[in-house]
C-alpha cells in the first residue's frame, strides 16, 4: 500500500477526527457536530463540507485554485468569529497532526509515516492560502465598515441637528467674509 492508497483507505477516520477537532473550537459544539441540515446548521455543515473537499483535493494533488472554494467555506466563517488569526486558520495545519494520529494506530500505515513529508508540504501550502483568504475576508469586513460610514448612516450618531449645522455654516461664512 502506498501513501495515497493509505490516505484513501483511512479517509473516513481522518475526516471524522479532523472535523471533530475543528468543531471542538466552539464553546458549545454538540449541535454543530450532530445536525446534518445545511440550513439549520451552517457552521457545522459548511466546515464539514469544506474540509472534506479540501482533503480529497489534497490527496488528488490538486492545485491551490482548485480547492479555493473549499477553503473559502471554512475560512470565511472563522474570519468573523471570535478567533485570533492563528486560531482561525489552525484547523488547516491540524490535518498533519490528524493523519499522523490515525496512521499511528495502524500497523501498515505506521510504516508510511516517514513518507508524509511531501504531503505535509501540500498541507502547508493550503494553510498559507488560508492566511491569504483570511486577510481578504478581514479587508472586506473593514471596507464594509468604511462603506457604511461613507454612505451617510454616520449622521445617525455623529451629526448635530441640521438647523444648528446651517447656523454654524452661516457663522463660518460671515467670519470668512
Amino acid at each position: 500500500m502506498n501513501l495515497i492508497e493509505a490516505l484513501r483507505q483511512k479517509r473516513d477516520k481522518i475526516l471524522a477526527l479532523w472535523v471533530e477537532r475543528t468543531l471542538d473550537s466552539y464553546i458549545s459544539s454538540g449541535f454543530f457536530k450532530q445536525s446534518r441540515d445545511k440550513f439549520a446548521n451552517p457552521v457545522g455543515t459548511n466546515i464539514q463540507e469544506g474540509l472534506t473537499t479540501l482533503f480529497d483535493m489534497l490527496v488528488k494533488g490538486a492545485a491551490a485554485r482548485e480547492y479555493a472554494g473549499a477553503l473559502d467555506q471554512v475560512i470565511r466563517i472563522r474570519a468573523v468569529q471570535e478567533f485570533s488569526p492563528a486560531q482561525a486558520v489552525a484547523p488547516i495545519l491540524e490535518l498533519k497532526w490528524v493523519i499522523k494520529q490515525v496512521f499511528s494506530t495502524d500497523k501498515e500505515c505506521k510504516l508510511l509515516l516517514p513518507e508524509l513529508d511531501s504531503f505535509d508540504c501540500d498541507v502547508d501550502r493550503a494553510a498559507l492560502a488560508a492566511f491569504d483568504l483570511y486577510m481578504e475576508c478581514r479587508d472586506r469586513l473593514h471596507n464594509a465598515r468604511i462603506r457604511e460610514l461613507k454612505s451617510g448612516s454616520y449622521i445617525l450618531t455623529d451629526s448635530s441637528c441640521a438647523s444648528a449645522a446651517i447656523k454654524q455654516n452661516l457663522q463660518d461664512f460671515s467670519q470668512m467674509s
Binding site: 458549545s28 459548511n46 464594509a144 450618531t157
Partner: protein
C-alpha cells in the same frame, strides 16, 4: 425545579489535547465571564443623549455618564443592585407575561439551536433558553421560595456586577427576531425577555448609542436621522426630481396637509439613504399612478420606533406621535411603508398603549373599495397589502420586462412575517413585477425566516464581525439560491434589512444586491403620459 438540562445543553464535548492556539474551550459556561473587546460590543450611549431623554416627560433614563464596557469599573450608581432587583419586582408585577415566562420554561431545548446568534457563534449563552436563564437565575434567587432557600441548587444566582455585564453582552446579542418563539411549545416570547433585560440595564444607565441617539432624534425632530422638517421635505423633493429625470413623471407630493384622506409613514431611511431611496421612489410613483389623496408628515416622519428596543414607555411615546399627527391632520387612515419593527409595534402593542384609534376610520382603499378589516383597530395598512389589492383589481399596469435585469429571491423580514403574518402579499406583488424569483429553503423563510442579524439597533459598524456571524444563517440560504438559480437580487420589505443585508451580502454573497419590493413595483409601473428613459437598472440607472 431542577435545571440540569440547561447545563447539559450547554456542555461542550471538547476533549483531548487542545490546539496549540488554545482555541479549544475547556470551561463550563457558568465559569466563562463576559469579556468585552473591540468588535463584540456596541458603543454605550453618549451622556448628552441620555440627559436629554431623561429630561423628557413620560420616560426615565437616569445615570448618564461616560463609561467603557472594556473597563472593570462601569461607574454604576451605588445602589445599582437594589435598583435592578426593585426594577425586576415592578416589572413582574406589571407584566403578567414576564412572570409566566420566568416560571413556565421546562428547558426542553427546542429553542436552543434556532437562534441565529447561537448558530453563528456556538456560544451557549446565545441559546435563547440560556439567554433567558441569565435573568431567570436572578428571578429564582430573589423571587421564589426554592431559590431563596437553596440558591444555586435551585437554579438561583446572586446578582453581581459580573451578571450585569453578562446581561449587557447578551441582551445586545439578540435582535428580538422571535424565531425561537415559533419553536417554543409554551409560546415563550424570548424577545420580551430581552426587552426586559434592556429596560433593567437602562435603570443603571447602561444602553447603546445606536439605539438611544435615534430615539433621542425621533423624540426631538420626528425621525431617527434628526432631519428637520425642511430637510425631510427637501429630500423627498430631490427624489421627485430624480423620478422626473428617469421617467418623465412629475410628482408634487404634499406635506402636513390637513384633510388628506391618507397619511403615509415610512422609515426615514427611505428618504435618506441608499438603497431605501429607490424603494421610496417606488412609493411615490405608485401613489402618482393611482392618484392617491395622501400627505407626508414632517413630524411623524419616521416609521421606525427604536423605543421598542429601549423601554415600553419610550415605545409608547414614539408610537403615539404617529397617531397624534394623524388626528391633527384629520386623515381617515394611515398607510405604512416597508418597515420591519414599526409593524410589530403597531400590531402587537399599539392598541393597548395608545389605542383604540377611534378618531380614524377603518381603512378603505379609495381605488378598489376594499375594506381592510384586518386593520380595523390600528387603522394602519401595509404598503404590500395595499399594492397587492391594487394588482388583484387590475388598477395598475405593470410591465415585468422593465425588471428584466432582476432575478430575485425573497427575504421575509422578521417582524412583518412573525408579528403580523404578512407572508403572501409581498410574494404576490413580487410575482407580478418580476419574471423569475425563487424561494429560499423552507426552514429559512416565512415564519421560520432568519434575521438579517442586525435588527434592534445592532446595525452599527463597530460590531461588524458580530453582525456578519449572526447573519450567516440568512446569508447561507441566499448563497444556496444563488448557487442553484443564479439569483442577483434579494427583495425584502424592511428598511433595516435594506441597509444591513446590503452589507451582509457584500461579505457572504457579493453577487447579490438588495432591493425593496416597492422599488421593483416602481421599476415595472407603466404610468400614463410617462416619458421613460432606457432604464437598464430600473430606478437605480444613472443617467448622464
Amino acid at each position: 425545579m431542577a435545571v440540569v438540562k440547561v447545563d447539559k445543553l450547554a456542555k461542550s464535548v471538547a476533549q483531548g489535547p487542545s490546539l496549540m492556539t488554545g482555541s479549544v474551550p475547556m470551561k463550563d459556561w457558568m465559569d466563562v465571564p463576559a469579556v468585552f473587546k473591540p468588535g463584540n460590543y456596541a458603543y454605550p450611549t453618549k451622556p448628552e443623549k441620555l440627559e436629554y431623554l431623561d429630561s423628557q416627560d413620560g420616560v426615565s433614563f437616569p445615570n448618564a455618564r461616560e463609561w467603557n464596557p472594556e473597563d472593570d469599573d462601569w461607574k454604576l450608581p451605588e445602589d445599582w443592585k437594589e435598583t435592578i432587583i426593585q426594577g425586576l419586582a415592578e416589572r413582574l408585577d406589571k407584566f403578567r407575561s414576564l412572570k409566566i415566562f420566568m416560571d413556565c420554561c421546562v428547558r426542553c431545548g427546542a429553542c436552543a439551536d434556532k437562534c441565529h446568534f447561537f448558530l453563528g457563534t456556538g456560544d451557549p449563552k446565545n441559546m435563547p433558553v440560556l439567554r433567558a436563564e441569565l435573568l431567570r437565575s436572578i428571578y429564582r434567587q430573589e423571587f421564589t421560595k426554592a431559590g431563596k432557600i437553596f440558591g444555586r441548587m435551585a437554579g438561583g444566582r446572586e446578582m453581581t456586577v459580573g451578571v450585569l455585564k453578562e446581561w449587557f453582552m447578551y441582551a445586545y446579542q439578540c435582535t428580538e427576531c422571535r424565531r425561537c418563539s415559533v419553536f417554543c411549545p409554551y409560546g415563550i416570547d424570548t424577545a420580551e425577555i430581552t426587552m426586559m433585560l434592556r429596560e433593567l440595564l437602562h435603570l443603571v444607565g447602561c444602553g447603546i448609542n445606536w439605539a438611544m441617539e435615534p430615539v433621542a432624534n425621533s423624540n426631538r425632530t420626528g425621525n431617527h436621522m434628526g432631519l428637520t422638517p425642511q430637510a425631510f421635505k427637501g429630500n423627498v423633493d430631490f427624489l421627485c426630481e430624480d423620478i422626473e429625470g428617469l421617467t418623465g413623471v412629475k410628482i408634487e407630493p404634499t406635506f402636513n396637509r390637513k384633510g388628506a384622506e391618507v397619511l403615509f409613514i415610512t422609515p426615514s431611511a427611505d428618504v435618506f439613504a441608499e438603497p431605501g431611496l429607490f424603494t421610496c421612489m417606488g412609493y411615490l410613483l405608485l401613489f402618482e399612478a393611482i392618484g392617491l389623496d395622501y400627505t407626508w408628515s414632517t413630524y411623524a416622519s419616521e416609521g421606525g420606533n427604536f423605543g421598542l428596543f429601549t423601554s415600553n414607555e419610550m415605545m409608547k411615546k414614539l408610537n403615539g406621535k404617529m397617531y397624534a399627527e394623524a388626528e391633527r391632520l384629520g386623515v381617515k387612515w394611515i398607510l405604512g411603508g416597508e418597515c420591519g419593527h414599526m409593524w410589530r409595534v403597531v400590531h402587537q402593542y399599539m392598541d393597548t398603549m395608545n389605542g383604540p384609534a377611534d378618531f380614524l376610520e377603518v381603512p378603505k382603499s379609495p381605488i378598489t373599495g376594499t375594506v381592510f378589516e384586518n386593520a380595523a383597530s390600528t387603522k394602519m395598512v401595509h404598503i404590500s397589502e395595499f399594492t397587492a389589492d391594487l394588482i388583484k383589481h387590475n388598477k395598475i399596469t405593470l410591465d415585468k420586462s422593465r425588471n428584466a435585469h432582476v432575478k430575485a429571491t425573497f427575504h421575509d423580514s422578521c417582524n412583518p412575517a412573525r408579528a403580523m403574518g404578512l407572508l403572501e402579499e409581498p410574494r404576490y406583488v413580487l410575482s407580478h413585477v418580476v419574471d423569475e424569483w425563487h424561494e429560499m429553503p423552507e426552514n429559512t423563510i416565512r415564519e421560520k425566516t432568519f434575521c438579517c442579524g442586525s435588527g434592534t439597533a445592532l446595525n452599527t459598524d463597530e460590531i461588524m464581525e458580530l453582525r456578519m456571524r449572526s447573519g450567516l444563517p440568512r446569508a447561507n440560504a441566499v448563497k444556496h439560491v444563488f448557487d442553484k438559480h443564479a439569483i442577483n437580487t434579494l427583495a425584502c420589505v424592511c428598511a433595516i434589512d435594506r441597509a444591513t443585508l446590503t452589507t451582509l451580502m457584500d461579505y457572504w454573497v457579493p453577487e447579490v444586491t438588495v432591493a425593496g419590493v416597492s422599488e421593483l413595483v416602481g421599476n415595472a409601473l407603466v404610468i400614463e403620459g410617462e416619458k421613460r428613459q432606457e432604464l437598464a437598472e430600473g430606478l437605480r440607472t444613472l443617467l448622464f
